[in-house]
Symmetry: none
DNA sequence: CATGAATGAGTTTTCATTCAT
DNA sequence: TATGAATGAAAACTCATTCAT
């Protein structure tokens, strides 16, 4: 039977150089991404993925070894998407101040989309994987480290620039930003109340302004 | 087969007035509690519960209508346990200051046990339920509200006492405490690094000291 | 749905003291026995067993851990059945001579049934398991050893009786009887020609008469 | 992907006159031969064949109609290989005596290789096919007949030569040789004990010497 | 109330085979 | 001819739940 793969309007992953297999693989990942992010690893079945991709079992298993591999790639994709979207709010800004502000700006602008896609993939994967899914746990840990490191580098850039206090621990503040952010997403999402997220964002900004930046 | 229900030394739920049915029900809940908290709703099977309780299907279905009901009761139990343990750190203290301090004291003392039992039940249930399990979502929301409310009351008590600034929004600070705490638990747990939780606890204490309490 | 287990006319395994689970287990084994013996381990599916038993997957998996366990038990059952049938031809006989004769008598009388049930279970399991199924291989080896040992004991009994030559190696002749028998079954079965089996039986009898027995 | 077909040092099937298709066909058969002989028809998947040949589905299905055809050709190949190897032990010998001796000599010398390649292909195919695979059963029957016939001809040659008793039934002894041989292979293989095969070979030699040959 | 055998839809995964390129 | 993506039936096995005893 002829296979028409419906490609989404907003599509990160396809490019003309890709082989057919790579395209299908990317297509599956992209389609499965919000499903895993909403339903979780255990809650998502291969049947769910078949449905959302309009592909058959064979097509999926032809491109992935097993459910773990799909989940793993989906997590990576979700993280990359998140970074990609957030980067848009950070990249044109000059200086550490504006870049840190970009993080909270992103969530202030995009919280609705984030919530609709199932929330923060780092949080979802983290909470499900920590006691359960060792293959995912490692990847989540690496992602946390990466993210913290990238924030740390912005702060350290600010120290070089001279806009950030020299004596503060850049890594510590990076993790604190993530901590407050994740707490805010969790509460905002479960309570259907984005104000709770916004309060967290405000606090991050306030912390940065009063403790990180030179007045 | 003869059924010997081994009752734990430290046991919240049993009391001599209970009927046999109530006892079995409580026993199942207590035993299933850490399993659900670690594996999640979708990841926990009725067979897991049978194993951990040494009971038969009939015994479980005789006491609960279905898996949802077990999950629901287990969530309530886990929250009650959490409150119970936390209260020990809060109850003997006099005044808002000491009681707020009790929350962070609890986690500083008991983080290991919390992690071993699968982390914060509110967080686990929240993250799994928000897009998925409407029956749980409502209960999680109520729990968040209760917890926030109880912290709010402490703060308001502090305002009456005169040790807390009159003009601050007690509810807002209550939610902010939970926000930072949950973020800290999440990061500490996934990174196998309780220092990340401790930094969150420090920040809560600092926030309370510098913003909530009078000098 | 009401479950009517159709019990065969000629039924080894049921007895009134059995629990229901034991009965079902025995029933499954008995029903699956000729299927495995004909189609082999890889060629037999759980669906085949469902069909031949009129039971559901759950009923089968409720009584056996997995397909291996069914196959293993079926092999044991098939061997026990074989011994049982063969014993009928051996037990009333007095002396080693008659008992050894009983083995070949059994096949001369019963070859048709043996062929219809799929041939010699030892041969079937042996040929499929030797390079493949280690769990079965061990059991087949034990069965061969048992069978050879029981023939050996008859021969040794004959030596004690004084009807068998003292100096012959009982074990060696036991294995030789099995060797010729299995070769005969294989050829007779594949060629649809029981005369080939009968020639093997004749040779066994001749060998016993001329080499094992005293004149 | 570039396809480098690694051709074995000792290679029956390739010859320079072959077309490319014929070469690939032969290559597949040769590679798949030990796999089918070890795992059996039902136990061997097309994926196994792909793996062992490093070819794609298309390449295999381009050369064979289906799995049955591969299995069938593989069986023929395995039988031809067996004949080829055995012939080396028989061909230079003069007279029926030496040629019959060649059969047992072959197994005494080569049992290890035979076992490593999965045992006797006739036995393996015979046991799996007899109740199951009618397409294979016919071929196995023909192979048995061929083999028996070739032994019969040696014996008859011996009768013409005058070294074999005139009155014996050549066909009967041919089948008996195969019978004892197959029994010996089966037992030797499953028991990991080539002595059991050797005893069978000894008996064949003894039978030939005492019953077939003129003293 | 408790038992535990049974259900049957659902799970993940593999299979032989097809077919557009 | 060869490729390899895709098919879809079927494989082994699990699951929440029911119900006769």
């Amino acid at each position: 039977m002829k296979q028409n793969i419906p490609i989404g309007i907003f599509c990160y992953t396809f490019d003309p150089v890709m082989s057919k297999a790579e395209k299908t693989r990317s297509y599956i990942i992209e389609r499965a991404a919000p499903v895993f992010n909403k339903k979780g690893y255990a809650g998502t079945s291969m049947a769910d993925i078949m449905e959302v991709t309009n592909l058959t079992k064979g097509a999926i298993y032809g491109n992935f070894e097993n459910k773990d591999e799909v989940a793993s790639e989906v997590f990576q994709f979700n993280m990359k998407s998140l970074y990609g979207r957030m980067k848009i709010f950070m990249q044109d800004k000059h200086g550490a101040v504006a870049q840190l502000q970009g993080i909270t700006d992103y969530y202030r602008t995009s919280w609705k989309g984030v919530f609709e896609r199932g929330g923060c993939p780092l949080q979802n994967a983290s909470v499900e994987a920590d006691d359960n899914l060792s293959f995912l746990k490692k990847e989540v840990q690496a992602s946390v480290r990466n993210w913290a490191r990238s924030i740390e580098l912005i702060i350290k850039g600010g120290q070089t620039e001279g806009v950030v206090h020299k004596q503060i621990d850049a890594s510590e503040y990076a993790y604190m930003i993530i901590t407050i952010l994740e707490g805010g997403i969790m509460l905002g999402k479960i309570m259907n109340n984005h104000a709770l997220l916004f309060k967290a964002l405000d606090r991050i900004d306030y912390m940065v302004k009063t403790e990180v930046l030179k007045n």
